[in-house]
């Protein structure tokens, strides 16, 4: 039931912009709770890598006096990976095209993270 609700939130998120290619909700231990990923991506790797990056982001923000972490953004030649907390127990990871309008994507990701944190 809860997994269906998480999938529904991710489905809405992916549908909110044609630039969003994939998304996942992950436990802070790196395990996938729900994911809408293309077949070429390994769920376990996306989960563990995203949670690890966010954990490192948390530490970096603290160490470099940047306050509380809001999100981790990775920009590659093929697009973006955006990771943010969804409450204390979960992480949202989103992959977007390189042409994506980040302002809109950030807004959608934040909304999705807020909805997910209420569920978990």
């Amino acid at each position: 039931m809860r997994e269906d609700m998480l999938t529904s939130i991710l489905s809405d998120l992916n549908g909110s912009s044609a630039d969003i290619e994939a998304s996942a909700v992950i436990s802070t231990d790196g395990l996938i709770m729900s994911a809408l990923l293309p077949a070429n991506l390994d769920e376990d790797r996306v989960g563990a890598m995203s949670a690890a990056m966010l954990s490192l982001g948390d530490r970096t923000a603290t160490e470099l006096s940047r306050g509380e972490l809001e999100m981790v953004l990775i920009r590659g030649s093929q697009g973006y990976v955006i990771m943010t907390h969804a409450g204390p127990e979960a992480v949202v990871s989103v992959q977007a095209k390189s042409t994506a309008k980040l302002g809109l994507i950030f807004l959608d990701v934040k909304r999705a993270a807020a909805a997910i944190s209420k569920l978990i």
């Binding site: 802070t28 231990d29 790196g30 395990l31 390994d42 376990d44 790797r45 989960g47 563990a48 890598m49 949670a51 690890a52 954990s55 490192l56 948390d58 530490r59």
Partner: protein, 186 residues
Amino acid sequence: MNDTDFERLAAYTRQFTGFSKEMESVLNGLSEQILPHLPDVTDSFYSVLLEIPKARPFLDGRIDSLKQTHIRWLEQVFSGPFDVEYTKHMYQVGDVHVKVGLPVEFMAGAMTLVSTRITELLGEIFQDDSVQLKQSIAAVNAILGYTLMVMQQSYESSRLAEELEKFLKITGMSRTLFDNLASAYK
């Protein structure tokens, strides 16, 4: 490490060092002649260590208790038993060495000192019996090599565990997250 792992480690180390049941008998047979000399071996060992500046911080204020432990270990080298418990014990000794921050080269260096001193001693005891001398030196080399190998295995594991702890602390990752990340890339 569980008992099965120690049995495996013991078998692996025996294979490498050639430490055999016959050698165990040779060592047991030496005990009567060599035990009275072991305090001298230990004294000579620590007098060399005290001359090494890098070793001094690990010795200051602890030399008497270290000597007692060293003699107890040497007595075991000539009495056994060389079972899983011995392997486990030497593994723990390696672990303690990591915890006190002893540089890795100290173990090989220290074992060489002990080996040299005992070989000299055996040379004096068996100066007229070259067969016995040869057998004794081979058995001593094998058990000291066995002990060193076990301690180094422990050293490596403990070192890696320490480095992992440091990495987890720096990155803020939990152990579970690290395990999940590692298993995702198996």
